[in-house]
Amino acid sequence: MRTVRRLPLVLGMVVVGFAVLVAIFGPALVAHDAFTQNLAHRFVPPEWLAGGSPAHPFGTDQLGRDYLARLVLGVRISLMIGLTAVVLSGLIGTTLGVLGGYFGGWVDAVVMFIVSCRLAIPIILVALTVVFLVGSSLTVVMLTIGLLLWERFAVVSRSATRQVASRDYVAAAWCAGCSRRWIVLGEILPNIVHHLIVVATVDMAIAILLAAALSFLGLGVPPPMPDLGLMIAEAKDYMFFKPWVIEIPGLALFALVLGINLLGDGLRDLLGGESGG
């Protein structure tokens, strides 16, 4: 039973660890370039299907670009979006949540009001609008998602801060003459950080899925970048005859997000954090 309980953490660490290695070293190791087109070699099937060749283990796309090279770069793009979005939304959400939870009263009311407003807006439509207005690029997608996805950090850090702020050691620090800044940074933050780590994994998974959806809808990472959502969008006109063109990038995206979620679940069991979902 113990080993079954630890399974999510181990599986998650393996998948995410592999993805990180692929994202860092993969593009340098793959034989082909992700952007080089070869119209004579369009839709070469993956190696395990009839007509596949070992030169292109995952086949080639509608422009004859090597699918493996694009996939590897796609994982790098997804992880970059996930990390940046989580850092940005973590800063915004934790600041709001800790302020609301620590000061209470009208500060808390304002924070909760901002969170309510954020929850009320349909995030994907607003993200699409922003990307359309500012112009699509990887940076714009990362920033847009980071600026929109902080509500879970705010809610969790607020409730965790409220719990921690009523503990004796915070009162003791206050009596010892510690400044508010020290109490927040030195006493409260270290004691809520395990909650934040779990939220970070949840939000990273959501950010990656959201970015892929934006790319799929044509207002995310722009072509010719090999974003996984964009690869599916570009391949979907051919999926009726060659289902593998959408199965391969979709499976990669699914596995990556599943790995991050498993890691989050495992960490929650280990650290006792809450996801706020």
Binding site: I121, P122, A213
Partner: protein, 318 residues
Amino acid sequence: MRVIRSREGGPYTVLRFLLRSLLLGALVCGTVLIASFLLSRASGNLAINIAGPEASAAAIAKIQHELGLDRPLPVQFYDWAARAAHGDLGRSFLFHEKVSSLIATHFPVTFRLGVFAIVLALVIALPLGIAAALVEGTVFDIAIGAVALLGQAMPSFWLGLLLIIWFGIDLHWLPIAGVESWTGYVLPSFVLSFVAIPVILRLTRSGMVDAMRADYVRTARAKGLSRASIVLKHALRNAAMPVVAVSAVQLGFILGGSVVVEVVFNIHGLGYLAWESIGKGDFPVVQAVVLLFSLIFVGLTVASDLVSALLDPRVRGA
């Protein structure tokens, strides 16, 4: 009017609770209104979008004047908000139709899709959640938890495309696009229900686990009631309340997120309309759709607050 006591003590009424929650909702809607207005005007290239990139400066200025875009922002906002309050959401730049009638024709499709999706989510997640709670800690429990994890990680547009290939092309069971007959709703509602399934499943499971350990269930057992009666009548009734409240909020998320599924299945609902309008810079439509989704979300949140306040004896002051 029933006088109730909050957990902190002090009498206050259901009416006051409702008013407070409505006031907060109205404030949220107002803020979203201003934010969506500012967002649509932030670009400043609305007239260029309509006139086209090759238009002369004079033509652009003319369009700007006709649409009132050359006036100060607060004036534009006041004008828009005052008209919107009377149900006049302006005219679409590109469809040459009233925004309100565009929304009236597109909304029912999205609404049906959302309701089917949340019903489907409940039908799938409730029994699974109850089953997981009853076999808590066993391999079955973990397997059901894995279902929730898989659902959470599934990219909805990818699942939609796979289902189109499997059920639409390979098996010829269901239509692959549009909602001309009710069968067109099956696949898109199923994909949309994945938004809510993990949340409802986990909440049902944890609620049932708590309920099965509670004193009233032990009493019911001691009375010799049947297992079915204990689970369905005593435990589920208590565990279901937060699930009902959360389902309302999840319906709001489903509606706001329907754009992806509507595009995949080529369903001309509100999400599809918004997507088309965003891509063409038709901001009166975008603004109205965003606002409508926000209003619906706030309405559902207030309703769910109220329902849980009315149902929860701790809030009602039993």
